[in-house]
């Protein structure tokens, strides 16, 4: 069971949140100009690291806001990401 630090609500139970995936994903500015492989990479692939990953979380059953955390996928240690609360 994780305790997720929402920048607005403080630490809350994981069941109030949705993990919305890796934060380093960047939508190509001109999708039409991309190859199919590059576009598929953006849509479907993930880094899926064994270790620290920066993620989006959505406090869907709370304040409904989005923010980022750094989470270790092995130890489950969580570090808040300051910028994301601005």
């Amino acid at each position: 069971m994780l305790e997720i630090p929402c920048p607005w609500c403080g630490p809350r139970n994981e069941s109030e949140f949705v993990c919305a995936g890796e934060a380093d994903r960047k939508r190509p500015s001109d999708p039409e100009a991309e190859t199919e492989e590059a576009w598929a990479d953006y849509l479907f692939n993930s880094t899926n690291p064994k270790g620290v990953v920066r993620e989006w979380w959505w406090h869907v059953s709370g304040c409904t806001r989005w923010f980022q955390i750094d989470r270790d996928t092995v130890t489950h240690e969580i570090t808040p990401v300051e910028e994301s609360s601005k």
Binding site: N45, N48, P49
Partner: protein, 415 residues
């Protein structure tokens, strides 16, 4: 390999079971192989077996970082079935069921296939629609999948005792008679023994830490037991796909998520069928041959390599189980565990070439025990011939760039 038979059993019983031969050798790795398979689960060992048996490629090593079947093969809840939604899925899973029903004989190893059948409770009109669609698709491929009325469900499962104020009342069920339970360790051991007998080297405690390549083609693997050269490399590492594929810079459309299961103390036989509550993505349970009630649900809802699960899943599954089997509230829990699954974006297995020549991948996906023989057979075909097996043509990575996904995610819970 000495064959197992009633006579070998009698002979060894008379000598106190002290003279059984080892089921496979434990050789030191050679310097070079034609094919190296990374991962000693059912998929990897099975691929090695089919490479040797069907393609005559016997200069093969299976490298396993731990012990055989110590990954998901030995952790799953043993259910094999073929109820799927898409036309590309059903024949593949049917082939797997066919193979399961004949492998005990081929491998000379008892996989203890127990054809219990599976009943999925229908608790919403959406589930009813999905069940009918699946039944139609499956009938095209000759797979039996039929609707049951509530009375038929009650007849088949006498212990079923839904509470009158259930939030989602059970309206009926849908039944696959051929769904079975298979002894999972035996799948790893049976494939290992038969592959070893055909000359495959099975090397445990040997972790692959890097992959060497030259001019875009693989040349070997770096391991904790030294460098091993290989012309071709097949990856079948279940919960470590992204980690191993990243050794050649290959990104994959998967996330690694834990899946949990737990079992009760053993009790007298009360439940014959495998039962799925709250439709396709709900809770499932069955009674093992030993008498334990085995329970599982969907994956944990975020990526993790921690090999342990989160509590809300257990709580939720227990609630839904007790709604229909209140008597199970008296059972004591004996064991609980989790394994890590590589969940593909569309929920279907990936059996594919990659951007690196000679590097092939088999991502078992969410319910990869049921696919083990079919995946192993088609993966061996791909590695040997460099072209996909007809039944796995649609399972390659190209489906993600062409947009021809095989969406099974919403309905194929892991069991």
């Amino acid at each position: 390999m000495k064959r197992f038979s009633i006579f070998s059993l009698a002979r060894n019983a008379l000598t106190g079971h002290r003279h059984w031969e080892k089921m496979w050798r434990s050789p030191d790795p050679k310097r070079e192989y034609d094919v190296v398979i990374i991962g000693g689960g059912g998929h990897g060992l099975g691929a090695a077996y089919f490479l040797a048996k069907e393609h005559g490629i016997t200069n093969v090593a299976v490298l396993e970082k731990g012990w055989l079947g110590g990954g998901n093969t030995g952790r799953n809840t043993m259910t094999v079935r073929s109820n799927f939604l898409r036309e590309d899925s059903v024949p593949f899973h049917e082939m797997s069921l066919d193979l399961y029903h004949q492998l005990s004989r081929d491998l000379n190893y008892n996989l203890m296939v127990s054809q219990r059948g599976m009943i999925t409770f229908i608790q919403s009109s959406a589930a009813n629609r999905v069940a009918l669609q699946m039944a139609n698709t499956m009938h095209i491929y000759g797979a039996e999948y039929r609707m049951l009325t509530l009375d038929e469900v009650k007849q088949k499962i006498p212990i079923f005792d839904p509470s009158p104020d259930m939030r989602l009342p059970v309206r009926g069920g849908v039944y696959q008679p051929r769904a079975s339970m298979v002894r999972h360790d035996a799948v790893a051991w049976g494939f290992a023994r038969a592959a070893d007998a055909r000359g495959v080297d099975i090397i445990q405690n040997c972790e692959v830490t890097g992959i060497q390549q030259e001019n875009g083609a693989v040349t070997g693997v770096e391991t904790t037991r030294g460098l091993i050269k290989a012309r071709k490399i097949g990856m079948a590492v279940a919960g470590h796909g992204s980690v191993v594929a990243s050794m050649v810079g290959q990104r994959l459309p998967i996330t690694t998520q834990p899946l949990q299961a737990w079992v009760s103390e053993p009790v007298k036989p009360v439940l014959n069928e495998i039962v799925v509550i709250r439709s396709y993505y709900g809770t499932y349970l069955m009674q093992s041959d030993k008498g334990e009630i085995v329970v599982g649900q969907g994956c944990d809802p975020y990526p993790s390599y921690a090999q342990r699960g989160t509590f809300p899943i257990i709580e939720d599954a227990t609630t839904s189980m007790l709604e229909v089997f209140p008597s199970f509230g008296r059972l004591k829990l004996l064991r609980h565990w989790a394994g890590m699954l590589d969940i593909p974006y569309d929920g279907s297995p990936i059996i594919s070439k990659t951007n690196t020549r000679g590097f092939y991948i088999d991502v078992a996906g969410s319910g990869g025990f049921k696919t083990t023989p079919a995946a192993a057979k088609t993966f061996a075909h791909l590695i040997a011939k460099d072209t996909p097996h007809p039944l796995a043509e649609k399972l390659g990575l190209e489906r993600f760039s062409s947009g021809r996904l095989i969406q099974e995610g919403g309905v194929s819970a892991n069991r």
